[in-house]
Symmetry: C2
Subunit: 150 residues, 2 copies
DNA sequence: TATTGTTATACTCTATAACTATA
DNA sequence: TATAGTTATAGAGTATAACAATA
């Protein structure tokens, strides 16, 4: 029956939406370590740094587009990241209007530490599951990824 | 081998973290309908309303605790929800310091509409998957739920 | 005195508008 | 003229501190 299939998917959609939203919120909390001797970045600051670390050097305008914020907002984000010496600014080779942003080794390390921290939290939780539950999640991860891209 | 098992989980943690975070972000976008003739609530306002709708009448202090914001912040959230006639305030029966918040039918409807909108988006995406992929997600949902609670 | 909630105030984040420098 | 970026300014959202009402 088509209607039963649709109804089953409606239930699946609700359940999946709730569980995915909750887990994401829980993961976000783990972004910063409590009482760590490292600058506490805001969501946008961290996301910008991570994007720069992943995609390599780019201009403030490109980075603003990536992060879906307006250029003036990115200006302030960059100023903070620069003050903490997580990124550096350089003049563009041929177009002197443009600025080229590059992640410093310290910035790269901060991103890596934050990732390790969240992965470690999740890995600990995963270790409490049965092998079969882990197998299910291993199969589910790429499907979830596909869903977010559509 | 223990080390290989651990390494596999580390990879699973990273992949699952990324896919769950991305899907949650995509779902959050669907909270508001474009160009709808209904008030556009902020994340906190919507979350507070949804909590009240789910758990029933409670005081501002309790609601602030639920949503992990400070009482003064909740005061402002409630003022907005009250202005849009999504919640009502009443005096507590025995303790006159307290205020009792209740969702109005309009508030209940707004929450239901937002849920239906997000569920509909996700259900459409799920319909594009194979039956086997849906089965995997059906098995994964409760496991994800369990992870977020630990 | 302790508790509940509100008001006063400040800080952070983001946006739009106006400006500067360069193409 | 158009583009890249910054500065000026305003509007949300949230926090802490101080206050009022009630227990």
């Amino acid at each position: 029956m088509t209607s039963s299939g649709t109804r089953a998917d409606a239930g699946l959609a609700t359940g999946l939406r709730i569980s995915v939203s909750r887990l994401a919120r829980r993961l976000r909390v783990e972004r910063t370590a409590p009482g760590q001797a490292e600058p506490v970045l805001s969501d946008t600051q961290f996301a910008a740094l991570a994007t720069l670390e992943k995609h390599g050097a780019m201009s403030p305008g490109e980075l603003a587009g990536h992060e879906r914020v307006q250029p003036p907002s990115m200006t302030r984000v960059i100023a903070a990241l620069e003050e903490w010496q997580l990124v550096t600014r350089a003049a563009h080779a041929s177009d002197r209007r443009q600025v080229v942003l590059t992640v410093t080794p310290a910035g790269r390390e901060l991103v890596a530490r934050a990732r390790r921290r969240r992965d470690a939290w999740l890995a600990r939780r995963l270790n409490e599951l049965t092998p079969q539950e882990r197998a299910t999640l291993r199969a589910a991860a790429p499907i979830l990824e596909k869903l977010s891209q559509s």
